[in-house]
């Protein structure tokens, strides 16, 4: 039994001993090739030994500015940024303006809101009633006596104290809204106790400057915005 064990051990050993030289030959061939490329020494050496620094920094000289200083590119960049900002603000302004213009009154509405009156057709001492924005407007060509009377009135003691000079631009032309400040009736011209207007609804008396003198109305007749662009015409509105 021990003999059998010995013999099998010997067979196994001899088999491995036979197969070994092949592996060893391959191994040694590999090793010799590596070593022969770099150094003929048997120990390991770095393949990069003796090459020096392997880092090569490329030259950017071709891309560098030839002229010295950085003012030129700085100016260019700021110029482009500024131009872009200017164009953007231009667009934003135009957009906002379009919307706002859209909301405002159109040209035909504005043209209808003004009335031009030829004053040469109104003789002295006469009233003219015109329609302006749906309301009557009184235009009175006052005589000298009426102007004097309107200016000499003690206006400080009136219910709505207002001097005549605040109510007219030219003393001979009195222009005011023909709407009674009480409840909105239209007063009658050249009537009443004070030579001016008289409201038939509740008996308010206005004087020749359109100021309330008697009756329930609280305020003077309202004066609209008007202008004399040239002699002989008035534009109301």
């Amino acid at each position: 039994m021990p003999a059998l064990a010995n013999s099998t051990r010997a067979i196994a050993r001899s088999w491995t001993a036979h197969s070994l030289p092949v592996a060893r030959a391959g191994c040694s061939a590999m090793q010799t090739r590596n070593v022969s490329e770099v150094h003929a020494t048997s120990s390991f050496d770095s393949p990069f030994k003796g090459v020096g620094s392997s880092t090569k920094i490329p030259s950017f000289g071709a891309y560098r500015r030839k002229a010295s200083g950085e003012d030129g590119p700085k100016m260019f960049q700021y110029f482009m940024v500024g131009t872009m900002g200017a164009l953007a603000s231009l667009g934003a302004k135009a957009t906002v303006q379009d919307f706002l213009v859209n909301m405002s009154a159109s040209a035909d509405v504005l043209a209808q809101a003004k009335v031009e009156v030829d004053l040469a057709a109104i003789p002295e001492g006469k009233n003219v009633i015109i329609k302006w924005r749906g309301k009557p407007v009184f235009i009175r060509h006052r005589t000298e006596d009426e102007i004097k009377e309107a200016e000499d009135t003690k206006w400080e003691a009136l219910r709505d104290p207002e001097p005549d000079s605040q109510r007219v631009k030219k003393p001979e032309w009195l222009i005011m809204l023909g709407v009674c400040t009480h409840l909105g009736c239209v007063p009658i011209g050249e009537a009443g106790d004070f030579g001016g207007w008289f409201c038939p609804c509740h008996g308010s008396h206005y004087d020749i400057s359109g100021r309330i003198r008697k009756g329930p109305a609280p305020l003077n007749l309202e004066v609209p915005e008007y202008d004399f662009p040239e002699d002989g015409t008035v534009v109301i509105g």
Binding site: D71, G82, A86, S89, L90, A107
Partner: protein, 69 residues
């Protein structure tokens, strides 16, 4: 050239306030220039066809200055 550009840089671009002011003022100027140029181009293209070109043939009196063209 360098003196000019550095002058411009120091005057207009160095501070944010002046930079913004320059930008807005130039936007205003650009708008004015654009509007004027486009209006002039339009008028030259439509020469003789607009109301303001033929107005004198229909209105004798030199009034009516209130009319927009």
């Amino acid at each position: 050239m360098a003196g000019l550009s550095s002058f411009i840089y120091n005057t207009f671009l160095r501070r944010n306030v002046t930079m913004l002011g320059t930008v807005f003022v130039s936007a205003f100027a650009m708008q004015l220039a654009f509007d004027t140029a486009s209006q002039r181009t339009w008028d030259s293209i439509n020469k003789g066809r607009q109301w303001k070109d033929i107005k004198h043939a229909y209105i004798q009196k030199p009034e009516e200055d209130e009319d927009e063209e």
